[in-house]
């Protein structure tokens, strides 16, 4: 998608698919304190999808974008991957899935 200066002024409307909603509901039931952080990340995506995402390499290279973020909570690091595409109206972001993985920080492999 070509850069549009309006991007920086008018946020995109973010539409969550049924499975993305299910994923997030399940996560928030297990971990309610994640709600504000995840919401702020998705709002940031709505404001600036071009710089916060990259083209998805597989399996939907042509149409999809990926955004990744993580947060630390109670000794666990939560990793999120959001896969979306731009709507045909160029004003919406359609989120197909929000994958979530978590690992104990002590088990993480750091440089």
């Amino acid at each position: 998608m070509a850069w549009n200066w309006i991007n920086s002024l008018i946020p995109y409307r973010v539409i969550l698919s049924g499975s993305a909603q299910d994923d997030l509901r399940k996560l928030f039931n297990d971990c309610p304190s994640a709600v504000p952080f995840v919401r702020s990340q998705l709002n940031a995506l709505a404001q600036n999808p071009t710089s916060l995402s990259r083209r998805s390499h597989f399996p939907y290279r042509e149409r999809c974008q990926l955004m990744s973020f993580d947060m630390d909570l109670d000794g666990t690091r939560h990793f999120f991957t959001v896969i979306f595409q731009y709507g045909s109206d160029e004003q919406t972001i359609e989120v197909a899935d929000t994958a979530h993985q978590s690992r104990k920080i002590d088990d993480l492999w750091e440089p």
């Binding site: 973010v14 539409i15 909603q21 597989f58 399996p59 290279r61 990926l66 989120v95 899935d97 492999w109």
Partner: protein
């Protein structure tokens, strides 16, 4: 090409298993560290090769307008995903081997590239093809919910 890559990935799985089972006996040997380093480098190479093959496949798919051929080509997505999944599992096994060798005081070359590769593999394998397809289909059929509406409904 998927067959060649599949065999190469199987070979890396076998190497990881053999190194894992042999680490106690050989843990003092510098050769063990070099073998782990070689295996990590091979996984990075396979990851990039897999990416190139997938891009070729996607290019073929984009150009092909014959429905029956497109159907056949489309079905390869499960093959690619299974190769990525196998490679991710092997890479995770290699992480343990690297940690072990580092515990012995060795420093491995190519660690940054390996970590990038592992991150890429996990981003691919955490997504399910069916769920992504289903997600877009549900939005197209009007089942999507706007972000604020969703958070207000919690």
């Amino acid at each position: 090409m998927a067959v060649v890559l599949s065999n190469q990935i199987d070979a890396s799985v076998k190497s990881a298993d053999e190194l894992e089972s042999g680490r106690t006996a050989e843990h003092r040997s510098a050769m063990f560290c070099f073998d782990v380093e070689d295996l990590a480098a091979e996984i990075v190479r396979l990851y990039h090769e897999l990416g190139r093959q997938v891009e070729k496949w996607q290019d073929h798919l984009a150009k092909n307008e014959i429905p029956s051929e497109r159907e056949q080509l489309l079905r390869l997505d499960e093959t690619w995903l299974s190769l990525y999944t196998k490679l991710e599992a092997t890479a995770t096994k290699v992480v343990h081997l690297i940690k072990y060798t580092e515990g012995l005081g060795y420093r491995l070359d190519g660690k940054v590239a390996f970590k990038e590769c592992l991150k890429g593999l996990r981003e691919i394998t955490c997504l399910s093809l069916d769920r992504v397809r289903g997600g877009f289909a549900s939005i197209a059929s009007g089942d999507g919910l706007e972000l604020d509406q969703f958070f207000d409904s919690l």
